[in-house]
Subunit: 345 residues, 2 copies
Amino acid sequence: MVRTRNSSTTKRATLADVAKVANVSAITVSRVINQPDKVSSDLCQRVQEAIDMLGYIPNQSASSLASARSGVIGVSIPSLSNIVFNDVLRGIYDVAGASDYKVLLVDTHYSPLEEEKMIRTLLSQSPEAMIITGGDQTRACERMLAKAGLPVVQIMEILNQPLDMNVGFSHYQAGFDVALKLLATGCQRLGFIGARMDARVQQRMAGFRDALQERGKLNEKFLVTTPEPSSIALGGELFRSLLSLSAGQVDGIFCCNDDLALGALFESQRMNIKVPTDISLCGFNDFESSAFVNPSLSSVHVPRYEMGVQAAQMIVQVLEGEAVAQKQRDIGFEVILRQSSRPIQ
Amino acid sequence: MVRTRNSSTTKRATLADVAKVANVSAITVSRVINQPDKVSSDLCQRVQEAIDMLGYIPNQSASSLASARSGVIGVSIPSLSNIVFNDVLRGIYDVAGASDYKVLLVDTHYSPLEEEKMIRTLLSQSPEAMIITGGDQTRACERMLAKAGLPVVQIMEILNQPLDMNVGFSHYQAGFDVALKLLATGCQRLGFIGARMDARVQQRMAGFRDALQERGKLNEKFLVTTPEPSSIALGGELFRSLLSLSAGQVDGIFCCNDDLALGALFESQRMNIKVPTDISLCGFNDFESSAFVNPSLSSVHVPRYEMGVQAAQMIVQVLEGEAVAQKQRDIGFEVILRQSSRPIQ
DNA sequence: ACAATCGATGTTTGCGCTATCATTTGACTT
DNA sequence: AAGTCAAATGATAGCGCAAACATCGATTGT
């Protein structure tokens, strides 16, 4: 049997192999790959041919070890199923990819303890920077990050004491504003349904609650929450719960996200409850479908993609040694009233 | 100023540092981390204390280099925005995480050339296995993968000539079955709207088309496609296009995914077209919302999470040296008829 | 014409870890 | 009691690469 070139049993080619074939030193091959302008064009070409011939692929572990640069940005999000993070990730990947950084992504399942474990894993990969979600890290986790001494961006919410950099918006203010808007449309008995109840959802609820209290419209019974993860199905259930708990008195509901809101809307249709005539609905996150359902769903729009982009840009800037304009950025939100709530009077 | 412990300027602790503190050799520390049962319990404890005291985090690059094991599984998907991949990823992450593998995820933007570049990047991280989407790799990409000689699972579709392992289902058969089912509900003039038109969407269309042709019900004018990415908005547009191109004759539409189908449904509501009385609709992917919209949307259910789980399990099995039962697995699909199509007569 | 300078290339070394092969100790066999 | 073996620990070397420094020839300035 003829020995075929580079079968899978052959060991992966190294810099030295390429160097031998091109008849140059290993460091020259390294330069061709990393700083081609430092090598004369004919040598560059000869080396490139050798690389192609051998199918050489650099060993990033060796490179990281020798240069103390991994080209990795660690990213930690609480959930892969929550599509809210898709847009953020897309922004991060777009910017990171354009600057040749790799992204190592972990999922913490909304648990600070798991987050601590995951961030330890990330740190063992020697990332050059980290993007993490929110501010609920454990003390140990904060210590690890501080000790690692790398740029960190906390995203999704504006924090009082960010570890380093921060891009997000005020969930409290968003909840507050929704309450005011719904009141302005004439709602008198507002309710809230919330699921998962992570820190950000709690802040939305707190803002909503405080606004109602300020206006003397707060009824604690109208706040229905569950630790279960959000889903459309759950939205329908919570909608029914709230209706029965309030004895059908509620005339407007702030749903902690659009999953719940869509579930509530679909359930209202099944129950023959008129939205917004009988009950107004407002969601949060402004999914694409929210603008298209009938009646279209009022929601809070958040520039998620932009948030990912900015977080990654801040990272890249710091890593390239540039100055970062603001270490904390509020990217804002917008309450969008559509057909599921009445017009402001 | 008092010198505080471990400021960010301090270098990261190494095995040797821990060894010195614990008064053992470096290799013992390594063993405590990687094979604790090979070390006596008192030493184990002493070393663990030193690790905690120094906040030692292993350098994975050095470990990979020395052991030729990275613990990384490379995953390549065509799009981060398409939420179809969320469920698959969740399955992969769940299984990989449980076996202490890290996932390195790249996005190819549906481009084989970008895929080639991304897979080169992945390979440079010395992954122990790869999970990639579909079978549209470039020749160069196939060569790289073959040369790397690692376990590869191609997911999302059943391939005629998989590179190695394969988990998916037949998109052709799914399209074919949808056509038969819609015909069985009494539709006479079936149309198709498709976006992005990647390999899998094309297969769905081909199956749909062939089924219609077999039954003598094919009208090429009723197949409307665009290379643009799918969205609910685009679904509405394509719905209108198809209606006008068919002069309103179409009485049933297979939409290449649920985004388009929801867009079509919402648009039909706005146009006062009755679904399913005037037109039947069937989507693909069976999003959660599809079961909840009114009328609920017929769709093709695919066990995506399960697909991710199986792909990762196959990988883990191979890496642990176990035998893999079947290298190719058809996980099937299910056409679910709901209110957006009439009952089968 | 000769030193000074610069660009192009090479040599050496070590990054932090683990594979491999000792070495030591003590328990157990015959 | 000598030999055998296994468990626990250590010493050494090398994984593949790039930083740091060294070398060499060519170009420049005066």
